[in-house]
């Protein structure tokens, strides 16, 4: 457990450092960003440099940054001059809603598709495989545009943009969830079909189990093992996809914040978003490890 905690901290440190370096190397000048639209005189520039400590050597700034992080201080936004923690706090809600809804949609769809089609006829499999392939290979923003065109502009079932009410969540969640359903569905079905060919499945059938009971009571658990491995990947996919989806559907949220911060070279905000993502990753992968142990007791020994 202590090793795991140490590894998690190392991941966070690496994420912070890597994003720090990336922004340092990016073109543009921090002072320009801080000056923004305001009056631009050498005096003001000098004051800004002094105020933000930009005249210190890079390594000192980096260490100071880490030091503040250790104390839970994420800093202030260059652009809005507000505390980064405060910005994140106000924006995290809609993103959590979106990603959870998308994950739920993806997992549910994948599970349904896999259970219904595993071991079925060739035609059904081919149709579903094709649908999965489309969901996986079409970029999410295109899926989003198609969904918007059909369900908002043509049918008018769902609002085009905004985050007001559950109806506004449906299309973004599908946009984000469909690629996950595609990949996860394939993996789950493959796992189910492999499990159904195992000798224990024959034993279970010989007990008089229905195919459905065999799938839900035995095979699904075996299929979950490779699927859980993928869950790490789809956490990343959800976080990355949230950026595009939020922009596309005009939703508030961290994705939006991240895009604005990157384009505006708002270093503290970008760093905070990166750190938050890394945190989520570490937490999720720990949970996955625990899930593995629960699903497959053989990994315990």
């Amino acid at each position: 457990m202590i090793r795991r905690l140490g590894a998690g901290l190392a991941v966070l440190w690496a994420a912070a450092t890597a994003s720090y370096l990336a922004l340092l190397l990016a073109p543009g000048d921090t002072v320009d960003v801080l000056v923004g639209e305001g009056p631009d005189t050498p005096q003001i520039r000098a004051a800004i440099v002094r105020e933000w400590g930009l005249d210190r050597p890079g390594i000192v700034q980096y260490l100071a940054y880490l030091w503040r992080l250790l104390h839970g201080d994420l800093g202030r936004s260059y652009q809005s001059q507000r505390g980064v923690g405060e910005i994140l706090a106000t924006q995290v809600g809609p993103t959590v809603q979106l990603t959870l809804a998308a994950a739920a949609a993806g997992v549910t769809l994948a599970g349904l598709i896999a259970v219904v089609t595993a071991g079925r006829g060739r035609a059904a499999r081919a149709a579903v495989s094709a649908a999965e392939l489309v969901a996986v290979s079409v970029p999410p923003f295109l899926i989003g545009i198609v969904l918007l065109a059909v369900f908002s502009f043509t049918l008018g079932w769902f609002p085009v943009s905004g985050a007001a009410g559950p109806a506004a969540l449906v299309l973004p969640a599908l946009t984000l969830g469909l690629p996950i359903a595609g990949v996860l569905g394939q993996v789950l079905r493959g796992g189910l079909e492999r499990a159904l060919e195992q000798p224990f499945a024959l034993t279970a059938r010989a007990r008089g189990l229905t195919e459905r009971a065999l799938v839900t009571r035995h095979a699904l658990r075996h299929a979950l093992i490779p699927a859980v491995t993928l869950a790490g990947w789809f956490t990343g996919s959800l976080l990355g996809g949230a950026v595009i989806t939020e922009v596309l559907f005009g939703r508030p949220g961290l994705g939006r914040v991240a895009v604005d911060a990157v384009t505006g070279r708002d270093m503290p905000v970008v760093m905070a978003v990166v750190l938050l993502s890394a945190c989520v990753y570490v937490v999720i992968s720990t949970l996955l490890d625990l899930a593995y142990r629960a699903i497959d007791p053989q990994t315990r020994s």
């Binding site: 010989a206 007990r207 008089g208 035995h218």
Partner: protein
């Protein structure tokens, strides 16, 4: 034909170990020998099948007399009495027929066995009886009754109602035949739930009762464990418990003891015999004639989807009528088959005597490796080498007297587990040293120590008189060709992307042209055509792969072959070919061999001396005939007693022709 049901049932009293029942001919056989002639006629291939399909030849088209006996015991007889009866069963997958016109019935309380090699269709036949032939199977039969109902019209619902409740299925290797992710208690409870055998509240206690009834100790603890936490024997007991949970009238056991150690196999067979004694009928599927002989009333021999012979077990196993059955029986290696080819019964060439007879009981320098030296000497004499050195003080070890491979006081641990503990052995030129023991006894670790693929913690290995263990690999490499390995599963030890030719050529240190010639020569020696050189391992059969493995091992003309379970994965007829080949090549090259096997019969057939290992230690060693005939250590006795044996008695008179042929083939 007046024998009653009970008298006729098990040739073995159910309480006895179901082994070596050897029905004394002349005591209880007379009742059976009468229909024996008809039996012979029926088992002639072709005619038998035809005869059976003619309607009206008798109830159920004339099953073996054993079945007739059983039916005679009950009121009514006829079709209604059979638990399952199928006539002219055909099962195909995508146009390929794997079962071709099999007729079969199992009466209540009867034990019917189907014997055959891989691909004979025996498993598919058995599974079809539960409607589990598999996806895409095309099942046809002229009549098919299960539990008194016409199974030809069954839908999934009808089949499900019978599975588990009417017939339970026991498969091979419970590690994969039980769901590895669920507790064994849950697996057994599932049967109870599906068929609503007992009210939900009682299921837990019923599971414990079942576990107890199959001899699982501490059922409360075991019920909460998963298959990988149990030993192979316990797992198989659990699998049987789940098959009998709904008290089915019929147990279908498909290779239920394959991959189990011989003592565990004996326990599982005993358990199955107990179920029979309790009234269950048993359909046993096996590749092992001896296993079948210990328990079955009636035997069907299958080959390529057809039944080539059927009849009462003692008849089929002692006086087989069909050439294939005879070949199968003759292919089983045993003490009796020593010195002869398993494939055709002809004598094997004699192995050349060692260049110089081994000097008397080990040289003083090797006094530490007793008693191997003694045994080795005895063995050396046993292959006919005049031993003038015996009794005479040999003045010093001559070249020929130096054993090719010596292990002295070898010990090896993995972590805190002592896998090999104080094992010593001596291997002389041209000699075969058998190593027997059950899984986990340290056999394979000993092989790796002998090959110096693993360094011993204690003791040392010497090869051809020089040190072998404790060297740097660089120092060993020049002598590596002198000692070669043949492993159990060549598919795992071959690079699948290499051709057979390249695999054989790999250890040869020869220029290109000579190397190619040598590869072709080696292929010819192991009985493979030259075009095999271009094949990849996956394109070869199990027997062909093992031949390639032998060719590859013999390529560098080694002095020592270490064969680790080289025939364990092969069908008995292929095993016979490979064992014959090994014996012939050994006679030709004078190669010494360490032959590791769990199969006492194979070792008895092939080896001169034997080490019996248990828990990493050698518990007994000596001349193979002596150790197996008069085992001194209790463990060896247990092992020897646990080996299922074919009925030994030869019938007199009526079935003489077949018996004579067999005798003729066996000598």
């Amino acid at each position: 034909m007046t024998t009653t049901h009970d008298q006729d049932l098990p040739p073995t009293p159910p309480d006895d170990p179901p082994i070596a029942h050897a029905p004394a001919p002349g005591t209880e056989d007379p009742g059976r020998s009468e229909p024996g002639t008809g039996d012979l006629g029926r088992s002639v291939p072709g005619t038998g099948d035809l005869g059976r399909s003619v309607p009206g030849t008798g109830d159920l088209g004339g099953f073996g007399p054993g079945a007739a006996d059983l039916r005679a015991g009950g009121p009514g007889g006829g079709d209604g009495r059979a638990l399952v009866a199928v006539e002219d069963l055909w099962v195909g997958f995508g146009g390929v027929e794997v079962v071709r016109g099999v007729s079969l019935s199992v009466a209540p309380g009867e034990c019917v066995a189907i014997v055959g090699e891989s691909g004979s269709g025996k498993s598919v036949t058995a599974r079809t009886l539960l409607g589990l032939a598999g996806p895409g199977a095309d099942v046809r039969a002229s009549a098919f009754t299960v539990a008194g109902q016409d199974a030809l019209g069954f839908g999934p619902r009808e089949w499900r109602a019978l599975r588990g409740r009417f017939a339970g299925l026991v498969l091979q290797d419970a590690l994969v035949s039980l769901d590895p992710l669920r507790t064994v208690g849950a697996e057994i409870a599932e049967v109870l739930a599906v068929h609503d055998v007992v009210p939900r509240a009682w299921r837990g206690s019923r599971v414990l009762e079942l576990l107890e009834s199959v001899g699982v100790p501490e059922p409360e603890v075991r019920a909460r464990q998963r298959p990988h936490e149990l030993s192979g024997g316990l797992r198989q007991r659990v699998l049987i418990a789940s098959a009998i949970a709904a008290e089915p009238e019929l147990i279908i056991a498909d290779e239920p003891t394959t991959a189990l150690d011989v003592t565990v196999q004996a326990q599982v067979l005993r358990l199955l015999a107990e179920r029979r004694a309790a009234g269950s009928a048993l359909l046993l599927i096996s590749h092992d004639l001896a296993v079948v002989g210990s328990i079955a009333d009636r035997v069907l021999v299958m080959r390529e989807g057809r039944v080539v012979e059927e009849g009462p077990a003692p008849d089929v196993l002692v006086a087989p009528a069909h050439a294939y059955t005879r070949a199968l029986l003759a292919a089983v290696p045993s003490a009796a088959s020593r010195g002869t080819r398993l494939t055709d019964g002809t004598p094997l060439p004699r192995r050349p005597a060692p260049p110089e007879p081994p000097s008397s009981p080990a040289t003083p320098a090797r006094a530490g490796v007793q008693p191997s030296g003694l045994a080795g000497d005895r063995a050396a004499r046993s292959y006919g080498a005049a031993a003038p050195g015996k009794g005479v003080e040999a003045p010093g070890p001559g070249v020929g007297a130096v054993p090719v491979l010596v292990g002295a006081g070898l010990g090896r641990s993995y972590g805190s587990r002592r896998v090999v503990d104080d094992v010593s052995f001596v291997l002389h030129r041209g000699e075969t040293l058998g190593v027997v023991g059950e899984s986990g006894s340290g056999k394979t670790t000993l092989a790796r120590l002998a090959l110096a693929l693993l360094e011993p913690d204690q003791g040392r290995v010497s090869l051809l008189g020089g040190p072998w263990s404790g060297l740097r690999e660089r120092e060993r490499r020049p002598r590596r060709p002198r000692i070669q390995l043949i492993s159990q599963n060549p598919l795992d030890s071959f690079d699948p992307r290499h051709t057979a030719g390249r695999l054989i050529a790999e250890p040869l240190r020869l220029p290109g042209r000579e190397r190619r010639a040598r590869v072709l020569d080696l292929l010819a020696r192991v009985g493979l055509p030259p075009d095999m050189a271009a094949r990849h391992p996956r394109e070869l059969s199990g027997g062909q792969r093992q031949r390639i493995a032998i060719a590859r091992a013999l390529g560098p003309r080694p002095d020592v072959l270490v064969a680790d379970e080289p025939v364990s994965a092969l069908d008995v007829s292929v095993q016979a070919q490979v064992l014959d080949l090994l014996a012939e090549l050994q006679a030709e090259y004078g190669t010494a061999m360490v032959f590791i096997s769990h199969d006492l019969g194979v070792v008895h057939h092939l080896a001169d001396r034997v080490l019996v290992m248990k828990d990493g230690r050698v518990v007994e060693e000596g001349d193979v005939a002596e150790v197996f005939a008069r085992p001194r250590h209790p463990y060896t006795r247990e092992l020897v007693a646990a080996v299922p044996r074919l009925p030994a008695g030869r019938p007199a008179g009526s079935r003489g022709t077949a018996a004579e042929q067999r005798v003729g083939a066996g000598t």
